[in-house]
């Protein structure tokens, strides 16, 4: 049988992301898929050498447009762990609220795109209409629709007033009603099921062996979610992951749909339990020299200090001098992170991991980001062989690829 190699992407009508796959097809059946990564590499990790650790918050937010808040949250938690900063409880709750709102809007975006992948354009439009309400909440509470810039090392930059909380709850009630109206269509419709059920099956064992994360993993029957580790306020709120067992595109769609509704509940719970008080810690552990960062990038110094501290890994940070003014909104964290930390948060697409290494200067020595899509590409390659060419867009979209964050 003659084989044809078909390039799929980087620019493809159904994919919003520049994923490039080389598909070997035999009679419309995919026999092999090879990914090519690096098309949109931006070199954001390298920027840690020229921007100080506070400025990196804004940079890591721009790794991904859809889950910017969670990238910043993960980074800030890492720096806080290295420097031993205690985040005020209210800030943790606010981080949770914005993080979950991000999950809602990301899942709604995905549900719309997924509907679009099999040509159901009115469903796409309906999901995006609901999403617009969530974007409004973001704009009204954070100051921007997508890249919210609310997290800073030590806390958050904005607060929610009681009126805003009330307004958010009202908006959530309306959106939830609108989403529930779409439930029968996305989960029970004959044509939708025809396009998703049994497509791109990832068995429970495969999901484990290939290291799938997020809805991919939970769609294959594993109850694992980084929110169980209790970052931000999840330790106090409690969390139960949502699991489906079929492992096909439909199961992943159902996981995301149910997670959207679950996130509404988490936001409501967090608003109800949010303690009053300050939103940011003020920490001053060491001097902060304000040399302009425009002329830095002093790699030589970084390497020197790295060699000096070669054998020293996890440094106990000096006890920060905690001075939390009541009602402070802007965190002022001074000092130089020294030590390493690994943090994990659950992004809409799965588990996000940051490895941070500070070398006692105001620049980080290393900021390593592992995005969930990176972990989900090997399972994707296992799912594609054997499927029809027409199902490739649906299967690729069912992992919710975010190639721009993977390539950073």
């Amino acid at each position: 049988m003659a084989r044809t190699i078909l390039p799929f992407g980087p620019q493809h009508p159904v994919l919003p992301e520049p994923l490039h796959l080389k598909l070997t097809i035999e009679n419309e059946i995919v026999v092999e898929a090879l990914p090519t990564l690096g098309y949109v590499h931006r070199g954001l990790e390298k920027l840690c050498e020229v921007r100080d650790f506070n400025q990196m918050v804004q940079i890591v937010e721009r790794v991904c447009g859809i889950c910017s808040c969670l990238h910043a949250l993960c980074y800030c938690e890492g720096i806080e762990e290295i420097m031993g900063i205690e985040v005020p409880r209210r800030a943790k709750y606010l981080r949770t609220i914005w993080g979950e709102l991000h999950r809602v809007h990301s899942h709604l975006l995905w549900l719309g795109l997924f509907a679009d992948a099999f040509g159901f354009e009115s469903l796409f439009m309906q999901f995006w209409r609901v999403r617009e309400r969530i974007m409004d909440i973001m704009e009204a509470t954070c100051g921007n629709r997508v890249v919210v810039s609310v997290n800073v090392v030590g806390g958050v930059r904005r607060d929610l007033s009681p009126e805003q909380c009330q307004w958010i709850e009202q908006q959530l009630i309306i959106s939830e009603k609108e989403i529930r109206q779409l439930q029968t269509t996305i989960l029970n419709d004959y044509t939708v099921k025809k396009r998703c059920c049994g497509k791109g099956v990832l068995t429970k064992e495969q999901a484990y062996q290939l290291g799938a994360v997020g809805p991919m993993l939970r769609g294959s029957g594993w109850a694992q979610d980084a929110r169980q580790t209790g970052y931000a306020a999840f330790g106090e709120l409690g969390f139960e992951p949502i699991v489906e067992y079929d492992g096909d595109s439909y199961a992943r769609c159902a996981v995301r749909f149910r997670e959207t509704l679950q996130s509404f509940d988490i936001v409501r719970l967090a608003i109800a339990r949010m303690p009053a008080g300050e939103t940011a810690a003020t920490v001053d552990s060491g001097s902060d020299d304000d040399t302009p960062t425009t002329i830095t990038g002093n790699r030589g110094n970084i390497i020197q200090s790295y060699n000096r501290d070669k054998h020293h890994h996890i440094t106990a940070a000096p006890p920060p001098n905690l001075d939390i003014p009541a009602g402070a909104l802007a965190a002022k964290v001074k000092g130089k992170p020294d030590g390493e930390a690994v943090t994990r948060v659950e992004q809409p697409r799965g588990e996000l991991m940051y490895y941070l290494k500070g070398d006692g200067s105001k620049h980080m020595d290393r900021v390593r980001i592992r995005t969930p899509t990176f972990a989900n590409i090997p399972p994707l390659l296992a799912m594609l062989p054997g499927c029809e060419l027409a199902d490739v867009p649906v299967i690729v979209l069912s992992i919710d690829p975010c190639i721009s964050c993977t390539e950073r």
């Binding site: 400025q55 409004d136 100051g143 810039s149």
Partner: protein, 120 residues
């Protein structure tokens, strides 16, 4: 079938769900980080904004007394507004106007704010 009839009837009498754009424009919420403004008279040229800006689009020359912002590189994070000691930076909740000339935008910066202060 009944579900569909209900929807059809509801849609017949519902009002438009999209905005009639040129006549109805979506406003922005209070606190939206739109355009950056500076009240140059209050600026003390301390260069804090230049040091803290993550995109390094601000250039402050404390000798000549100039404050320059590459508006096209500004990412509207609002850090400079937070750190300015005199509070002379502010953000209004409207977008920067669309510019027609790309070159002018990227090389000169359209809302470039410059002012010589009589600094001795």
């Amino acid at each position: 079938m009944f579900n569909m009839t209900k929807n059809v009837v509801a849609n017949l009498f519902a009002k438009s769900s999209t905005r009639l754009y040129p006549f109805a424009v979506r406003g922005h919420f209070e606190g939206f980080r739109g355009t950056l403004h500076i009240n140059i008279d209050e600026c003390i040229f301390c260069r804090t904004c230049m040091i803290k800006c993550p995109s390094q689009c601000i250039a402050v020359d404390n000798k000549a007394g100039t404050w320059t912002c590459e508006a096209m590189s500004c990412v509207y994070c609002g850090v400079c507004v937070d750190v300015c000691p005199t509070g002379c930076l502010s953000m209004t909740n409207d977008h920067r106007q669309v510019a027609t000339e790309k070159q002018t935008m990227s090389y000169q910066g359209v809302p470039k704010k410059k002012k010589k202060e009589a600094a001795e």
